[in-house]
Symmetry: C2
Subunit: 338 residues, 2 copies
């Protein structure tokens, strides 16, 4: 069947030409049949059916996605933290004092526990050393170079091949049905923008995240520059997520996707709006293909939100049950293995 071969990109064009109900469900090929997939398809059917009473015009179809643990993996620790650690190692020769200074000394020994134990102050020190004191353009290049060469310590995969193939298909499916897709993450906005467009098809202006202060400066030699300062300005996590959504997007989303208690308020805010709404949690249940964790995990801690899902009718994706494959990188491996 020709229809079955429609690619994600072709789907996008289908939408532009069609004013009708949901299209391109075939693009969700890495999702097993079951209640999670069915809920997504029903929701999209509802809001795109011009004859139905839950119809929402295309411009108002806003979908927000957490990033760490929702679009790409987050174990054994957030990938941005792994970037910061690699950066500390790269900068260590210029900072001999770090050998006797925590949390740097521990990080240089490969010990993450000092960073986690040191709490906010340790994190702020590492962020200041690795994410500030340079221009925005210099930072972009550092992240881009890192992504091009760094490998995950356990899987050996490049980080941007540890994105979830079913979620890529979901993003594409929503866009094919007139949704505008945003990231709303606790991660650093300038870190995510380096790969979000190429990896997820989400342009920089649709990436919302935490950020530090910046200073506009005009240098005699280099002209105008934006300098990243070592002060955190806003953290887009927990109750900060609806605030960030209002500040940047300016309207309540129709659909929200998360995986941890840091996403609770974003899901709550989204699904307390009127009309058709979709709230969905990725539950990491697959220790064989990825990781299995929830209530006991420090990273991606999922407790209150999982309980709320049951009472509020939010969809819980069971990775092991609902996903045929996990990583986009695995897709490439499959096709090149032939």
């Amino acid at each position: 069947m020709e229809w079955m071969k429609i690619s994600g990109t072709a789907c996008a064009f289908v939408w532009m030409l069609a004013a009708g109900p949901a299209v391109c469900a075939e693009a969700m090929f890495s999702w097993n049949e079951g209640p999670a997939k069915e809920s997504i398809l029903n929701f999209v059917q509802d809001v795109t059916d011009g004859a139905g009473d839950r119809y929402v015009p295309p411009g108002r179809r806003i979908a927000v996605f957490d990033n760490d643990g929702t679009l790409w993996a987050e174990q054994p620790v957030y990938f941005q933290a792994l970037f910061a650690i690699d950066r500390v190692k790269a900068l260590a020769p210029q900072h001999p004092e770090w050998q006797g200074q925590e949390p740097f000394a521990a990080l240089l020994r490969g010990d993450l526990s000092a960073l986690l134990a040191g709490g906010e102050r340790s994190v702020a020190e590492v962020l200041a050393a690795t994410h500030a004191g340079m221009t925005t353009e210099e930072f972009e290049k550092i992240v881009s170079d890192w992504l091009g060469s760094a490998k995950h310590p356990q899987t050996g995969k490049p980080y941007n091949r540890m994105v979830y193939q079913p979620m890529l298909e979901l993003l594409e499916y929503l866009r094919a049905n007139g949704f505008k897709t945003f990231i709303v993450s606790g991660g650093g906005v300038e870190f995510m923008r380096v790969f979000a467009e190429q990896t997820y098809g989400i342009p920089p202006e649709q990436v919302v995240g935490s950020y530090g202060r910046q200073k506009y400066e005009v240098s005699d030699e280099a002209g105008p520059l934006l300098i990243k300062l070592p002060e955190i300005d806003f953290v887009s996590d927990g109750p900060g997520k609806p605030v960030a959504i209002q500040r940047v997007i300016g309207r309540r989303p129709l659909a929200a996707f998360g995986n941890s208690d840091g996403d609770f308020q974003m899901l709550q805010w989204t699904c307390s709006g009127e009309g058709a709404r979709l709230c969905l949690i990725i539950h990491h249940t697959d220790a064989a293909r990825e990781w299995a964790y929830d209530r006991a995990s420090r990273i991606g801690h999922l407790d209150e939100t999982l309980a709320a899902a049951r009472t509020k009718g939010w969809i819980v994706v069971d990775m092991k049950r609902d996903w045929k494959r996990i990583y986009s990188g695995d897709m490439i491996d499959e096709s090149t293995a032939h």
Copy 2:
């Protein structure tokens, strides 16, 4: 000629189907022929010509517009200040103490000078009284109701009919050529979003402005709410404009449009990027049809930026010379007069 009749909306569809060079220059019908219009057309021609060496792909065609004095009028004082004054009057019965308390007492007598003389502290007090202590949705409704009934004290026109018809055509022309159009204004982001989509075709998520702090709260009765707090968080003016652009849009614009020294850094940041760039200033020169002001004006003060335009090759639009008509409202008056 059929081609000449193409409307703005039809132009947008032309672009989606055409990968070729600039389209829909005919839409700029309120612009007189001259160097300003010619510079705009040449710039769009340059960045849309796939065979040229200044070509920029559609996703990267970002254009940023100041609002007050650039898209709509700003005299005798910013319209958002006129909203705040009307709001003080509407709330006065609940605040008998305002009769003896500046700047409120002066505003209730119709005297703006106390507000301007009181500086930041006065402005902050009026903002706290009129823009905070309510939910985001309540604020939207207040602004929307005001826009639907309020009239400008001098022209007697509704405020959203005091938008510049040539700028509406420019917005449409840029969008027809694959540009994504943003507002980047010192005005309040939540104030502008109420009318930006209907008035300018700019959706809420493409409006960047100043904002106050907000608090996420869950009420037993009303569910989750975002409460506007009486603290200014960020002012998107002067050097704050490039910072806001980086924070929200995440890439340097190709084109920037402003009218005052508060736009200087936005123009400087935009036009110091590589490749084809367009920076343009609206110079208010038409006392008969609008207002004439620049260096001596408190509102829309234009001095340094006008001088810079000459040395940097920024385009200066002389309203009197370059625009056939001023307000979108005048267009409606013309057509209904027949």
